[in-house]
Chain length 128, copies 2
């Protein structure tokens, strides 16, 4: 199938699918006459896999790793679990950061009248 159908089936944009070909993540065959990329169902399965992993916040390089584990019938589940645990840990860090950010900001907002006068505890805090 052509790229637009592969994109539709995998839920990715044509640009993204072409990008994944460029970076050698999913390299389809080529139609010799037209030069058009020609995707198989297997290619689409890989695109799907990548799309899902990306939505799980795995980076492109991590996706590459997961993909090669996915295609290796002899891999151990230990390796996959390790990658996933690391991903969870990094998400936990981000969560912590964002939580404390949120707390500080909402504290500032609560202190601010939000009226037409210039006095503003938020700016006061930022300038300290």
């Amino acid at each position: 199938m052509n790229i637009s159908q592969a994109a539709k089936l995998s839920g990715l944009s044509v640009k993204t699918v072409r990008y994944y070909a460029d970076i050698k993540m999913v390299e389809p065959a080529r139609n010799i006459q037209s030069g058009y990329r020609s995707y198989t169902n297997d290619d689409v399965a890989k695109l799907n896999f990548i799309g899902k992993a990306r939505r799980f916040n795995f980076s492109i390089e991590e996706c590459r790793e997961l993909l090669s584990l996915y295609q290796d019938k002899n891999r151990s589940s230990k390796e996959v679990k390790k990658l996933t645990l690391a991903k969870i840990a990094s998400i936990d860090e981000k969560l912590k950061e964002f939580h404390s950010l949120r707390d500080e900001l909402s504290h500032l907002v609560n202190c601010c009248n939000g009226d037409d006068r210039p006095s503003c505890p938020i700016l006061d805090e930022l300038s300290k």
Copy 2:
């Protein structure tokens, strides 16, 4: 003072301070002989302000806005509060995303034996 002291006092890197000059956020005077950037205490205060706002996850453009409010003695606190509330809302969205991501991933991890055998519920889920 020269750029390295301004950097030190504001807790930013020299590169970053120079970058803020390039994008016209904090434009110091120049020493005519040497061409060196020459920072005042006021400039450092602005750098500080920006550094803090960045740590609060405000984008450069938002910092620009906050900075002009900060320098406008007649601004209303309403405007600042509005920006900050929008920032909190966007942080809340990210928090929600990361929370559900975390939950899904940790569910998968719990299902995975993590042994030397190839069977892996994580990859199974990604390939669905």
